[in-house]
Symmetry: C2
Subunit: 493 residues, 2 copies
């Protein structure tokens, strides 16, 4: 029991941290329930284990018996504990999540599509602005998970200290202060880039756009993962490029299919997401990375690496970037702080290697430069060392949120449902029964107040009809369990 | 004398306003000299008129005699007053500026260029970061002319009041608060656009880029003014479009040449700057606008209107936009606040009419949206009514700075030099003697610590070799007179 109290205290500390950055602390009983939940999540309390009685719990935490009871009732609602008659409360056996399989890697011949009719099917971004919708659609971090107040304090201080500088142009390649921090961080990515290697962009989207434009012209074909980030498909469609979508699974791109596609016709670039891809959450093994780079070199194809989720492993070290393994100097690295720190500041970057001058010329022509203040804010946040601490907390939070969502999926969906098991990021990919039409499903879910992303959004040619993506970016709310049950019910029809 | 004192007091008020927003007020004698100068500039004191003696002036302004004398000496240095022996001080006859002709409208056949080898010859933006260079190159407002502190206060207050909102995505079309202000302002432009007509962009550059992409594909030909804003040439080059450059003069595009060019081959779009073009400062007469629109309608060519200088007439009402006269709904209006308020916030906009959906889809794909805070800051500044007051002051300042630069040009350049006489904005276009190589001249000037823009930057095919552009965006400094004399000396060789 001592050990248990100790870790309860530890969990309490991190709950306090959350409370510090969150504008309105949740009520006491919910915070108590959250503590117990996180102990279950991190294994301090195991399935089947008996927990203290309500009366003991109230004494241990110095709260009233009704408050303790409320906390236990919430934990029951969350299906985390159960009362056994005449015996007390027990941690429920983990739901069947462990028994749900992962989706098998996609299997289809890599074929070229024009994307001429591609439009993102639903507006996930607009959905996020509507608080009535359960936010499982857009891959966006919940506000309370980000250090908005600290960023705001830095911004306000910069505006006070140097109003004129904040109001002056910051021409491309953008703030040297920020590029120096990126350079420093690139050591963690296994890259060792210099400040001069970077161009600051408006999020990773602009980085991808500039990278693609630097290496491909309208009508050219670009090799992508299948399924792929719909935003990438959107950029490619607007640039009037064609794609060849190569099946991907939990280990990233299928390399045989990649070799096949590269052998078949000229490919202007490959766009890959080795670290926690969107939507699959795939982490490409080191040997696959080497093989991919040697394929790319053999065919003379530049590789565009999207690393927006790289900072978000659920455990262990940050995975390295493909760019760091690149001996051919033809990997273009794109990233941002939108999934970890500040979507609204729109700070992304591109390190384009031999295409640096082309990217810089475009960025200069198209925007002169990005706004000045956001770069300075992010540079100062990175420099003051708050980012690593913040990341540690955020990784833990995303891990818990993903586990929670996954458990609940296993709880409410049929046993033949497949769900991804990512080691980083905050996205889940579900494969439902054959015959489910996820476009119709998502429309019905939306009408029922739930935002999710239908599978075909992630394909240039309407594949993944029975799949959908769930974002676990927002802190778990009890209405999410209800929402998942609703989706399962709609899918069963 | 009473009237004169009154207007001196008025000029004093505006000098105080300048002092309020400027971090370090200039010394007293210089402020006194500035007052007298602005009275000369606005005609309150006329050429040949006698001004008070040093002793009278010291009494009137309650300053010491040495201070009054210093002010008068500075005015002499500035060649604004002269001492006549045994008689006192007089306002000098206006220098020969009035006698310098304006450059004749460009005359060349409109021919198609590929821009494949176009690169801006010098980096005017980078020059601005170097305080050792006299800043007459980049078309950028001097820091002290912009309300950086007020903008900073608004920004800091927004960050305090709504840190989470400032850190959240603001997906395209961008902040409704800002688009509402744009809608309100569009009445002044003669347009009456609604908030839904706008997409917020990263400066006018991104607006022009999106507009061009919406109506033209690589290889298409775009009709532009000759000379044209080099940034536009830069965008067109990056988009791999071709151009047909049509001669322009003080009334804007030559309409006969425009008709000729439109009749000769398919033109995907025209890009025009009816209000104070860059570099000419041309203001297109109303009848020319109507003729241009009817030409465009007849040939089915969309018109992209760059209105970044529209808010900056030197006198009288703000000129209307072409878009307001457009009955064919095929004018795409692009603008920004970079010349009037906040270059570093990068707030631009595009009202694309029938191309709105295409522009919105591109902006969404390429960047998701612009950063959140800058839009909110500008919206609040516009809403609180400070913008009109600020503009009134700024217009007056630019008028004075342009007049001052123009007078000094007339003073130090040969009599056959031509100089534009713009009714708005802050740019001057000089035509030097035939045979002057302005690219070499600008390189030599730069080596001598002076940043200016060579004529060929403004042409797709190297025209305007003996021309150059001077920016009067920075407050007049005495070193500018020396810089102009240096340029004149270098040009004479």
């Amino acid at each position: 029991m001592q050990r248990r109290q100790l870790s309860m205290a530890r969990a309490g500390r991190s709950a306090k941290l959350v409370a510090m950055v969150s504008p309105k602390p949740p009520p006491l009983y919910r915070r108590l329930a959250d503590r117990v939940e996180s102990m279950i999540a991190d294994g301090s309390l195991r399935a089947g284990e008996r927990i203290p009685s309500v009366r003991q719990f109230s004494r241990q935490h110095d709260v009233s018996v009704p408050t303790a009871l409320q906390a236990y009732m919430l934990l029951e609602t969350r299906r985390l504990i159960e009362a056994r008659p005449k015996s007390g409360f027990y941690v429920r056996p983990r739901p069947a999540a462990a028994t749900l399989d992962e989706p098998a890697p996609a299997r289809h011949a890599p074929s070229v599509s024009t994307l001429s009719r591609y439009t993102p099917m639903v507006s996930l971004m607009r959905d996020l602005a509507n608080p009535a919708l359960v936010p499982m659609g857009g891959a966006v971090p919940g506000h309370d998970l980000l250090p908005a107040r600290r960023l705001a304090r830095i911004g306000a201080s910069l505006l006070r200290r140097q109003p004129a500088a904040c109001n002056a142009y910051d021409p491309a390649p953008g703030s040297l202060a920020l590029r120096r921090e990126l350079s420093r961080r690139s050591l963690d990515w296994g890259c060792g880039l210099s400040a001069d290697d970077f161009v600051v962009t408006t999020g990773a989207s602009e980085a991808l756009q500039l990278a693609l434009r630097a290496v491909a012209s309208p009508g050219d074909t670009v090799l992508i993962e299948s399924p792929a980030f719909y935003g990438l498909l959107n950029i490619i469609a607007q640039l009037r490029l064609k794609v060849v979508a190569v099946p991907a699974g939990p280990a990233g791109l299928d390399l045989d299919a990649t070799a096949l596609a590269l052998g078949r016709g000229r490919v202007a670039a490959m766009v890959v997401t080795p670290n926690f891809s969107n939507p699959l959450g795939a982490l490409m093994p080191a040997e696959n990375r080497r093989a991919l780079l040697s394929l790319a070199a053999r065919h003379g194809v530049p590789v565009i690496e999207d690393d927006v989720y790289g900072d978000l492993p659920h455990e262990g070290d940050r995975p390295r970037c493909l760019k760091g393994m690149d001996t051919n100097a033809d990997v273009i690295l794109c990233g941002s702080f939108s999934k970890t720190l500040c979507p609204g500041l729109r700070i992304g970057y591109v390190a384009a290697g031999r295409h640096h001058a082309a990217v810089l010329a475009q960025k200069t022509a198209f925007t002169v430069g990005s706004p000045t203040l956001p770069s300075l804010v992010v540079a100062e946040f990175l420099r003051d060392g708050g980012y690593e601490r913040h990341l540690r907390k955020l990784r833990h939070t995303y891990r818990r949120q993903v586990a929670r969502m996954r458990d609940t999926v296993a709880d409410v969906f049929p046993a033949d449902t497949k769900v991804s098991n990512p080691a980083g990021g905050f996205l889940l990919w579900l494969e439902l029964a054959r015959g489910v039409d996820s476009l119709a499903l998502c429309a019905e879910a939306r009408a029922a107040g739930i935002s999710i992303a239908p599978g075909p959004m992630f394909s240039p040619d309407g594949r993944f009809k029975n799949c959908l993506r769930l974002s676990c970016g927002f802190p778990w709310e009890d209405r999410m369990a209800g929402a998942l049950a609703t989706i399962a019910r709609l899918a069963a029809r």
